[in-house]
Structures are given as C-alpha cells and as structure tokens.
C-alpha cells in the first residue's frame, strides 16, 4: 500500500500550508477549494473568503484572462458562479498526479505543466507580483480529475536580481550587432569595475554619453552620482568655480561638480572645450587625486572616476595645441573609439527595426516595416548625425505615418540630399508638391 494513502486529507492541507510557495487547489469547475498560507500572504486573500470563488478572481494572472490554457469551464459560461464543488466532480483524464501514489505528471500538453509559465498576478493591495505559475492536475485511481494544483513562485527577488545583472552586464541602450560594437560591448564588463579614467571618442551621435552612463551603471559606483558636465563657453574663472567649487573664508561654501560626483563618476562631455587653466588643474587631480577649490586653503580628495569624451581625434587636438599633451596621456588610460554608423552599416537594418518597434509602442501604432523604396533610401543615406540621426528619422516617420508600411514620403525630406550621390530616390520636403519637383528634375 502506498504510504500516501495513510494521510488524511486535512494532513495534506497542513503540509501544503507549511510550504514556502503559493499553492491553490482548484476544483475541475475552476473554483477555489483551498489556498495555502504562502498564497494567502502573496495575494492578500483570506482562505475562507476565497473558498468557492472562481480561481481567476483570486489569481488574476495574465493567462487567467488572455485564455486559460486549462480551459476554465466556469469562465466559458458553463458554470458561472460560486460553488462548493465536490472533489469527485469532473471528467476522466488520461494523465496526472494520483492522490494515491503522487506519480509525477510528465506532460499535460501545455507549458503550464512541469516548466510552468512566467506571468504576474494582481494582489488585493493592487500590486503586480511576477510569478512562475505551474499547474498539476491531481487524479484519482480511476483517472478522474479530483482537483488541480496551481503552484505560484514569487519571482520578485529574482526579477530584481535579473535587473541588477542586466545593469551590470547588459548594455541595454548601447545597441549594435556589428563586430565593432560587439568588441566594445565585450570590453565593458572588464573596464567598468576599475576606477581608471576612460576617454571616449567618436563622432556626434555615436553614443558617447550612453557608453559613459553604461560604464557608470556597470561599475560598483552605480548607486553613487553620475554627474555630467557640459563645458559651456564661460570664462575660465567661472568655469573653475563650476568645476571645483568655491570655499572663500567669508562666503558660504559652494560645492562644484567634482564634489557633487564624490563616490561616483564625473563625465566631461567635450574635453577639447576645456580652457588650458582647467586642463592643468585636471592634470594635477589625475596625478594626486586632490584639487583645491577656488578660494580654499586646503585641498580635498573626492573619490571619483573621470570619464571624458570628444568628437574629435585627441591626437590631432594635441598637435593643434588645443588639448594639453599631459592631460591627454593621463586620460588615455582606456580609450574607446566608437565607430560611426557609416563604418558599421550592417547595423542599420537592426537599428531601424529596433527604433521602429520602440516608437510603434510609444505611439501605439502598428507598422509592418519600411517600403522597398524607403529601405533603399535609408540604406544609402550617409547619416552624418549617426545613430542619433537614424533614431530621429525613425521617430519622425513613426509620427507621420498613420500605420502599416512606411514609405519614402514619410521620411524626412533632407535625406535625399545626402544620398543622391549613390543614386537613391530623392523625396521632396513633406508637404511640398511632389509633381512640381518631379517636373523640375
């Protein structure tokens, strides 16, 4: 005799209560027979209040609404209502867990069995909880379904962990499948944890800012500030105060960007715009790790990482005398050169699709893609503004196009001028009479 048959049903419920996962016992008619303590805590439903209710109102999971894979008969209109169903109800099933021997069910024909499905549930406190939902039908010796057991594992912690790992290793906003971008992506996990200065170069729109943020988020400084510093055309003295703060004896102390970035990362967006006096102070900071705020008597040593960027070739800047050689050599510990979109044209198709999906979701439109003519134009365009420009082009097209296939007419007019040399279509400005332009040509 199977040992399981010695247990009373109440004992089994006690065991279920002690388990750390949520368990819902559901009748073949889809009404709740029992929910264990963990599920009660997860959903906010008291056991007595939930008894006899349709399971979909207790779980409130996505599959409950989008189409219960188990064929919730009550929901299909054959048995609406609360009911105290008999355990013996329900038709015979061929496979399942048997109460007598707890034989493992191998396959119930849906992803709900064994592996489960990832979904989310809505609790009584109006909170969405990510869960893995696994379903087991329990059969009697005659093969009749006694009840179903839905197992819910709370994935909140795992999702948070996944998010943290994604931040650490994922370069969610740094997009590209070309070999050049793959090489850069592969470098990030090894560069990010170090505190070494990073110099990022690349044309405008190649993603220097995004790479700087990605390096910060992937580092152990990710919970500390990321301070971005645009070098504005201010006099050097004012800029020094903006950078290093001021601490005059008779005036209130004013922290600069270096103090604001303490513990985190300071990102200087265009190193070539720095005045020579600031460059000299930066050299001192990179040498000693300390700087003197304007008007102060004592140096301070904030623990920060310096990331700088330029859209020009730094070696050329040094040769022109714009960038101090000493600063360049100190910043150039890790140098990442981002390729222009022209140098990774194989990414264009992928980027077009990525941004089209993004804007389709944002504007709540359905796009089937680009027409062959539009695709030809997009492929031949030179993208002087790189990825930023491509993104703007797709955003414009997604705004202008009501849905379906995006045609040449729905692309920005200026695109034709930069792709004419390659023999592409030359669309007129949006709103301009097309025929007139065609006649001129």
């Amino acid at each position: 005799m199977c040992p399981a048959s010695h247990f009373a049903f109440a004992d089994i419920l006690t065991v279920l209560d002690a388990l750390p996962v949520g368990l819902l016992m559901v009748s073949p008619q889809g009404t709740v027979l029992h929910l264990n303590h963990s599920l009660s805590l997860m959903t906010g439903f008291e056991r007595q209040a939930a008894f006899g209710l349709p399971c979909r109102h207790i779980l409130r999971s996505r599959p409950c609404v989008s189409g219960c894979a188990l064929g919730c008969c009550a929901f299909n209109g054959t048995g609406v209502g609360r009911a105290g169903d008999s355990l013996a109800a329900g038709g015979p099933r061929e496979e399942g867990l048997f109460l007598g021997d707890f034989m493992e069910r191998r396959d119930i024909g849906t992803a709900w069995g064994s592996r489960g499905v990832e979904s989310d549930i809505l609790t009584l406190k109006k909170r969405k909880v990510p869960v893995r939902l696994t379903h087991f039908p329990v059969l009697d010796a005659g093969g009749r379904e006694l009840f179903r057991l839905d197992v819910l594992e709370d994935l909140t912690e795992l999702k948070l962990l996944e998010q943290r790992l994604h931040q650490a290793h994922g370069h969610g906003r740094l997009i590209g499948r070309s070999a050049a971008m793959e090489r850069i992506s592969a470098l990030i996990p090894s560069i990010a944890p170090s505190g070494a200065p990073v110099l990022i170069t690349g044309e405008t729109g190649t993603g220097k800012d995004i790479l700087a943020e990605t390096l910060h988020h992937a580092s152990h400084r990710s919970r500390e500030p990321f301070v971005r510093l645009n070098v504005s055309p201010l006099p050097a003295e004012l800029l020094a105060k903006e950078f290093f703060g001021q601490a005059f004896p008779d005036l209130p102390e004013r922290p600069g960007r270096f103090q604001q970035a303490a513990g985190g990362t300071l990102y200087i967006t265009e190193i070539a715009d720095l005045p020579k006096s600031i460059q000299a102070r930066l050299v001192h900071f990179l040498d000693s790790g300390a700087f003197l705020p304007v008007g102060a008597q004592r140096e301070i040593s904030p623990n920060l990482r310096l990331i700088s960027a330029s859209n020009r070739d730094p070696a050329e800047l040094v040769s022109q005398g714009i960038l101090s050689g000493e600063l360049f050599h100190r910043l150039n510990v890790v140098h990442i050169a981002l390729p222009s979109l022209r140098e990774r044209r194989e990414d264009i198709d992928f980027l077009l699709k990525h941004f089209l999906d993004l804007y389709a979701a944002r504007f709540k439109k359905d796009f089937s893609g680009f027409s062959p003519e539009a695709r030809k134009l997009l492929a031949s365009y030179t993208y002087p503004g790189n990825v930023r420009e491509l993104k703007n082009i797709v955003e414009y097209a997604a705004m202008v196009c009501p849905g379906g296939c995006i045609g040449v007419d729905q692309l920005p007019a200026h695109m034709g001028q930069n792709s004419m040399a390659e023999g592409a279509q030359f669309p007129p400005p949006v709103g301009a009479p097309r025929d007139r332009r065609a006649r001129k040509r």
Binding site: G52, L53, P54, G77, R82, L122, K126
Partner: protein, 118 residues
C-alpha cells in the same frame, strides 16, 4: 443632459478579473441626475482595439464615465483614475447584471462578491 455613467470592465457576462487585461467594457447609465436627465441614455458595449491599461484609462476619461467597476487593478491606474475624479470600485466579482443592480441601489462596495454563496 447630465447622466451618471458607470463603466464595467467585463469578460463574457461577468466582471473581468484584471483591469489591464480587459478587452471589453460596458458603459451603462445610472440614475438620472437631479435635473431629471438621462431617460434616453442607453447602454453601450465597447470592444477595445488593444488590451492595454493605458488605453482603457484613455477610453474612461474620454467617455465621461463617473464610476468604474472592476476586479483587480494596479495601483497606478487606480490612482490615475481617482486623480481624474473618477470613482473606482475595485475587487468586485460577479455577473454584470447583479453588479449593475447593486450599483444602481448605491450599495456596491469595493471587494463585493456577488456570486451565489456555496
């Protein structure tokens, strides 16, 4: 004429389990306002183009609904609708007609279950 309207998130002939997964809504007039309007008001049943909480909020605000009756609702949508001065009666379970009748009596409350007791 000012008529008080209720919107029920429905699935079949009962309240849908989740607000953000609702594909169909029932807009029904409640009692006429004090000036006696609303006699010509009729029920409307809308099938949404997309299942989306945001879109449903948009439909609710544009339809001039006064009361929303639903089952599970995420707090973001709940607070948004409340902020728009729309009453939200959540966690309601049961057949639409029973819910509407209870609502018309002014007796419907959050968490009400109108299924027959076992």
């Amino acid at each position: 004429m000012p008529v008080k309207y209720a919107l029920l998130t429905i699935c079949g002939n009962e309240i849908a389990p989740r607000f953000d997964m609702t594909a169909e809504v029932l807009i029904a007039p409640l009692e006429p306002m004090a000036d006696g309007g609303g006699e010509d008001a009729e029920r409307r049943q809308l099938v949404l183009a997309h299942v989306s909480g945001e879109e449903l909020c948009d439909v609710i605000t544009r339809a001039g609904v006064n009361v929303v009756v639903c089952c599970g609702i995420e707090e973001d949508y709940y607070h948004y609708l409340r902020w728009k001065r729309i009453e939200v009666i959540s966690d309601v379970m049961g057949p639409c007609e029973d819910v509407l009748a209870r609502l018309a009596q002014g007796a419907l409350q959050a968490g009400d279950c109108l299924y027959a007791s076992p």
